[in-house]
């Protein structure tokens, strides 16, 4: 029996499943007793599961994350919530130096901690209220990074992240919250078998993206279809460890690649997608230069005229794809 849910409802359902079925799961972070912080995605969890398992905290990102890691090393599966990813930077020592390396450097147990970072941008929020830092964190061995694009993945990747014995960074994007999908009842999910998914099949060009950029790519594919261009859209879902094989197989078929990312270009996910596919295929497999659509390499502006040109749009993705398809080999 399937039901139709939104992306934010998917996150909420994921929490409800985890807290309801796993006594070792608890949630900790700023604003958990106040829906203002985390929207509808954690509504009433403190009332239904108790304030001892849904813990609101002082303004201490680093301490909170370290405490969750300490609890995860001692039998629990905490989910730390950072309602805005920009502030999660304050917790980076615990995420990068401690959680990601603990198992390797101590030859021991991995912290079974999940860290939820929310991308919350637009609306003239500016440089410190807008960042999508997935590329940074996906650079770190030992830290799994997942980024759902769909409502079913919003729920299921949260469950997979929390049940995983490794530290996982789960990044959701508020621009995805209105997405809907039909879902089956929730159940346990194994993160290690999650792979990129082909969200739309096509022949002429491969668009590779994650999270909200997947939605842009799907919208661009619609625009391209009207011009007679058939675009295949791949949703990466898991950024670390990154599986290039699905994208490479697609490009082998289409001969063309456009990476779409809501982060910056330099040392970012889009470049990593292109590198992974380029290394997997012979030069003869490419009918055109791979390209990328990303944010410009600038902090997020506030003024609406600058914000308008800052974020990639479906139109920009479609126009870039069209250039690639029409480019002379």
């Amino acid at each position: 029996m399937s039901t139709n849910i939104s992306y934010s409802r998917g996150i909420l359902d994921g929490f409800r499943y985890l807290l309801g079925n796993h006594k070792d799961v608890f949630a900790i972070g700023q604003g958990l007793w106040s829906p203002w912080y985390v929207g509808a995605s954690m509504k009433d969890l403190d009332k239904d599961f108790g304030k001892a398992r849904v813990i609101d905290t002082p303004v201490s990102e680093l301490g909170t994350t370290g405490i969750a890691i300490g609890a995860s090393l001692n039998g629990y599966r905490p989910i730390v919530i950072h309602p805005r990813m920009d502030f999660m930077i304050l917790a980076t020592d615990q995420i990068v130096n401690q959680a990601a390396k603990w198992r390797h450097m101590l030859g021991g147990k991995s912290p079974a901690v999940t860290i939820r970072g929310i991308v919350n941008r637009g609306g003239e929020q500016g440089a410190q209220h807008s960042q999508a830092l997935h590329s940074w964190y996906a650079h770190i061995p030992g830290l799994r990074v997942v980024m759902p694009a769909t409502a079913d993945d919003a729920r299921d990747l949260l469950i997979a992240a929390t049940l995983c014995d490794d530290p996982v960074l789960y990044i959701d994007d508020r621009w995805c919250y209105e997405q809907t999908a039909d879902v089956a009842p929730a159940g346990p999910i194994d993160i290690t078998v999650q792979r990129p998914k082909v969200r739309r099949e096509g022949r002429d060009i491969t668009l590779v993206a994650a999270s909200y950029s997947t939605i842009l790519a799907l919208e661009a594919a619609e625009l391209l279809a009207k011009k007679g261009i058939s675009a295949e859209v791949i949703d990466l879902r898991v950024l670390n460890p990154l599986d290039h094989s699905v994208a490479a197989a697609s490009v082998k078929k289409t001969g063309r690649l456009l990476a779409v990312d809501g982060g910056w270009a330099t040392c970012g996910l889009a470049g990593e997608i292109i590198a992974g596919v380029a290394e997997a295929l012979p030069p003869s497999a490419f009918r055109a230069r791979p390209r990328r659509v990303t944010l410009p390499d600038a902090p997020a502006p506030t003024s609406k005229v600058l914000e308008k040109i800052y974020y990639p749009t479906a139109e920009l993705v479609a126009a870039t794809a069209q250039q690639i398809v029409t480019e002379e080999p």
Binding site: P58, N74, G75, Y76, W102, L106, G108, D165
Partner: protein
Amino acid sequence: MTDSRLGPLADPAQFNGPLDLTGFDAVALRKMLKTILTIRYAEEAVADLIESKEAVCPCHLGIGQEGVAAGVSSVLHNSDRAYGNHRSHSHYLAMGGGLFEMFAEILGRLPGASKGMGGSMHLYAPEVGFGGSVPIVGATIPIAVGAALAAKMDGKGAVGVAYFGDGACEEGVLHESLNMAAIYKLPVLFVCENNLYSSHLDIDLRQPTDSVARFAQAHRIPHRTVDGNDVAAVARAAGELVAAARSGEGPGFLEAVTFRWRGHVGPKEDIDVGVLRKPEILAAWKKRDPLARLRAGMVTAVQLTDVEYQQYDAEARATVADAVARARLAEYPPESALLDLVYTAGAKA
């Protein structure tokens, strides 16, 4: 109690006589003596391994500071969760971490405490209550608080312990951790080994006053400041604070004033970068030796004889030598460890 200055506690010319061991039985004292002897000779052996270039990883020796770990561990159990820092040989050994495993770890061998993956700065023995040590200053403080949160959720009376130094008190994360431990009333003991030095700067060049217990007071956490080279004083204060934590009264903070005899890193006494420690101060602190003072106190308290002491001394030396010899012969990790240890496969159903 207010501790604006350490006063006599920071003066090495004081507190250098035999320890007052009132209230301790012979069994407990002999155990603490053996622990201190083992740590002392183990760290001297580490120094030798560095000198001979067999040990290459950074090794931070705490020779002269053994009384703190020996006293604190005397009130802990295997079910407790102690976390250390860059200078944690004593914390690990006092909890019961294996000597052979420590030397094997320092030499990068597979049977090491951390499978040969971490070296001196990454010791690990969760089976005896030592949850791990890392060199990022202050990093294990919130982790120990999280271990205490887990212990509170378990409801079995275990405590978390965070070992850190006076330098870590200058990291913001200590203050976040103290605050959260206080508001959630978590069973955690914060142990600051105040050795009056960061890697290279005297505390007077880094803080407006030399006692760090004021940070506990700011967060309404019960605190004690003691002579860290008096294992009995450490054990008494840790015992009170840990008992309160176990019974649900929340965190405690122990400031143990001590001094390291060697440089920040490596075997030499005065290689500190930047501001050198004065040789006469080090010489004075060596007279405030936690080992010699415990021995002298035990002569009166439990009639420890020279013969008996020499027997413990010889046993500790022999045990350390045997562990070093065996560690030298241990195998290295397989090349597959490089990638195999990055992730744990699978999910919990």
